[in-house]
């Protein structure tokens, strides 16, 4: 048993960290550190810096720009991104649409879309959730009717993260309403956001931020060549995507950075209340435990070459609880006399982080998954 990275892994980490430290533009780093709004340009600028370095899509095959890193290196890279405080790498193109096209796309689709995703020419978003379909994804109602060489799409998506930045959206749509098993009438479509009939309406969250949207489709014509995989087989694609890469849902790097910041803050403010310090210690311990748990999954993955089981959901559950705990502590650490600062930044961040236990499969859904898949209940 050895909990430490190997010398090679340590050296990889140090090199990665050094490069990120040197190449992350200061203005972007400051914006992230201060929880400021990141524009489309901010996100794409960082994307392109990584693309130029060849690090924007480590998991892709070498021929499409991947790095050939093993799972541990990929994990280290992502944690370092979090730790250094980089802008988020928006997952919709690189870690969602890309892998789907690589697995299910035609050669033409790959050639058309993958390089543009890689280089940050296209900004992608995800069209899964609908007003009536959250946890119960298969109940989605947005309809696509084949008509000649195109589909006509009608319906509505919701919670579309950064839809207002996007050039393209990948959607799950219903292409057959007659089937008894709802999963069997769903298809996976790529839709150009500039197509007439698409309306994006902002959904402002309680922290006041514009991050998610409603997307309305009214007689939107989508060329049939934008169908991925077979018609009515979209659920296969969706399941592949859900099970794809969930080694970094714990966001340990980012939480380590937040923890370090909180500790700084606490020592500046000279907070000595044992109650507060205990909560801080318990969060730190929880994060230590989560990191080791994560490494244990990684070790198993590397050893067996198998993707992780459903129990990897615990990384998301614990990781998000830690993120929320950190923002809550940060708000409590602030002098209550600084209500303006709380209203300006800490409070909205606390509000915003409540979403982490809801999105990307709520923690209740994650518990259902573990109960069913891992525990056999």
């Amino acid at each position: 048993m050895d909990l430490n990275y190997s010398a090679e892994e340590l050296s990889f980490r140090d090199q990665t960290r050094a490069w990120l430290e040197a190449n992350l533009p200061k203005d972007l780093r400051d914006k992230v550190a201060n929880y400021e709004h990141l524009s489309r340009d901010d996100l794409l600028r960082w994307h392109r810096i990584l693309a130029k370095k060849g690090w924007v899509a480590p998991a892709w095959p070498k021929e499409w720009g991947g790095t050939d890193w093993n799972v541990v290196q990929r994990y280290i890279f992502e944690e370092e991104l979090g730790y250094v405080g980089s802008p988020p790498l928006i997952p919709f193109g690189i870690t969602m649409c890309g892998p789907v096209l690589l697995r299910f796309g035609t050669e033409a689709q790959k050639k058309r879309f993958l390089p543009r995703i890689y280089n940050g020419d296209d900004f992608w978003c995800q069209g899964y959730s609908e007003p009536g379909s959250g946890s119960d994804l298969a109940s989605l109602k947005t309809k696509a009717v084949r008509s000649g060489d195109h589909y006509v799409v009608n319906g509505q998506k919701i919670w579309t993260t950064l839809g207002h930045y996007a050039d393209w959206i990948f959607c799950l749509v219903r292409t057959d309403s007659s089937v008894e098993k709802r999963q069997e009438g769903i298809s996976f479509l790529l839709i150009d956001m500039k197509t007439p009939g698409i309306t994006v309406r902002p959904l402002i969250l309680m922290d006041g931020a514009h991050e998610v949207n409603e997307v309305f489709f009214e007689d939107v014509k989508v060329p049939a060549e934008n169908l991925v995989f077979q018609e009515n087989k979209g659920w296969t694609v969706a399941k592949y995507l859900l099970g794809h890469e969930r080694m970094n849902t714990g966001r340990i790097g980012a939480s380590k950075r937040e923890l370090a910041k909180l500790k700084d803050f606490v020592s500046q403010r000279n907070i000595v209340d044992v109650r507060f310090k205990d909560r801080l210690t318990r969060l730190e311990v929880e994060l230590m435990a989560l990191e080791i748990t994560n490494l244990r999954f990684l070790d198993t993955m590397r050893r067996t070459g198998q993707p992780p089981g459903a129990d990897v959901s615990m990384l998301k559950i614990k990781g998000t609880e830690i993120q929320q705990g950190l923002t809550e502590l940060m708000m409590q650490a602030e002098d209550p006399a600084e209500a303006a600062a709380i209203a300006g930044s800490l409070g909205p961040r606390y509000c915003s982080m409540r979403k982490t236990t809801i999105y990307a499969g709520s923690n209740e859904i994650q518990r259902n998954i573990i109960a069913k898949m891992t525990l056999g209940l």
Binding site: S129, S139, A337, E338, A340, C351, R354, E364
Partner: protein, 358 residues
């Protein structure tokens, strides 16, 4: 033993509730919050008209001499509707004005007050006062900085705590003025607040010191407990409604047992909080001594803080994405309850205080 409001209390609470339902629904409130001023003069006038302003004031000044229990039902209604007008700051400050003639104007709704007491680093300790009061000729001047003064941008007069020659004393100051600089901001719960710099502001000394400040803060804390109960009630009711109507997998999500049990725990948290709000308000009105009052208020605030956090977080979580949306009232209730959890001290502060009062 009797947990009902008396007839007047119930009538008043009902009429406030009816008024708020009619004229202060979520859409109306949204407009008020978004306005430059951040409050509604019309609503304030209506409060005065209904007798809310005079309620806690002495009879000689147009008031009814009401106590915390008399205000409980009103505060619950305010918590339900998320009222942002500076009612609590005004009645807390008024409590410190004894029989000052200005109270008549407060009762009529013409004057709004705020209590300028909090300072940087105080962390709720009432004796932490560094603002200075100096005797000048036949008056006083105030020098220094107060922080996070609720309602200050809207107030006409401030009751200010300051260190005078004989320790902490209280002063009445007009606001704003050249010597009273108001740095206003919108707090996390969308009420208006301000940091204030006093630069030799002219002040009128009023009676009272630290003991009166503690009394006023306990009074305010008890009222905010009642407000929290109203807000928690809304959070529980609206979440229950959501569980009954939102369908997933072909059934209302309220049929899922894990969510049912969490809803039950929210409901119990609300009931336990309500019990403690009753205790705090009763004891503020009828304690034999300040220690008994302080113990009850701190005990209540411990529970209210814990349960406000629990109920608000669960309400959002059980709403799923919808709970995060600014368009849903519950997200604003979440913000208000988040602020209430720490207002006048969170559980940590009151645990410390309670233990010191054995």
């Amino acid at each position: 033993m009797n947990f009902d409001y008396n007839e007047e209390q119930q009538l008043l609470a009902d009429s406030v509730r009816r008024y708020l339902q009619k004229d202060y629904d979520f859409e109306a409130r949204k407009k008020i919050v978004a306005s430059n001023e951040g409050w509604s003069a019309a609503v304030w006038a209506q409060f005065a008209e209904m007798g809310l302003m005079g309620l806690p004031l002495p009879a000689d000044y147009g008031g009814f001499g009401g106590g915390a229990v008399d205000l409980m039902g009103v505060m619950e209604a305010f918590g339900d509707a998320l009222v942002v007008e500076p009612y609590l700051p005004t009645v807390m400050a008024a409590r410190l004005l004894g029989k000052h003639p200005i109270l008549s104007s407060v009762a009529e709704g013409k004057t709004r007050l705020a209590l300028a007491h909090t300072e940087a680093g105080a962390r709720h300790r009432p004796g932490h006062v560094n603002v200075v009061a100096r005797k000048t000729g036949n008056g006083w001047t105030i020098e220094g900085e107060k922080k996070a003064v609720a309602g200050a941008p809207i107030a006409d007069m401030l009751v200010v705590s300051a260190k005078g020659p004989d320790g902490v004393a209280l002063f009445l100051v007009e606001s704003p003025s050249a010597e009273v600089k108001i740095n206003a901001f919108r707090a996390l719960d969308e009420t208006r607040s301000a940091d204030i710099v006093f630069k030799g502001a002219k002040a009128e000394k009023i009676d009272g010191g630290l003991a009166q400040i503690e009394d006023a803060i306990d009074f305010g804390t008890a009222l905010v407990c009642a407000e929290a109960v109203g807000a928690m009630k809304f959070a529980c009711d609206t979440t229950l409604e959501y569980l009954k109507t939102r369908k997933q997998f072909g059934v209302p999500i309220g049929t899922f047992q894990a969510l049912q049990h969490r809803m039950v725990d929210m409901f119990i948290a609300y009931e336990q909080a309500k019990s403690m709000a009753c205790l705090a308000c009763s004891k503020v009105d009828a304690s034999a001594n300040a220690t008994e009052r302080a113990r009850s208020v701190s005990a209540a605030k411990i529970k209210i803080s814990d349960n406000a956090r629990h109920v608000s977080q669960e309400a959002v979580q059980l709403h799923g994405g919808m709970g995060m949306s600014e368009e849903m009232k519950v997200s604003h209730t979440f913000r208000r309850l988040t602020v209430i959890a720490e207002q006048f001290g969170g559980a940590d502060y009151h645990l410390e205080r309670f233990a010191g009062l054995q």
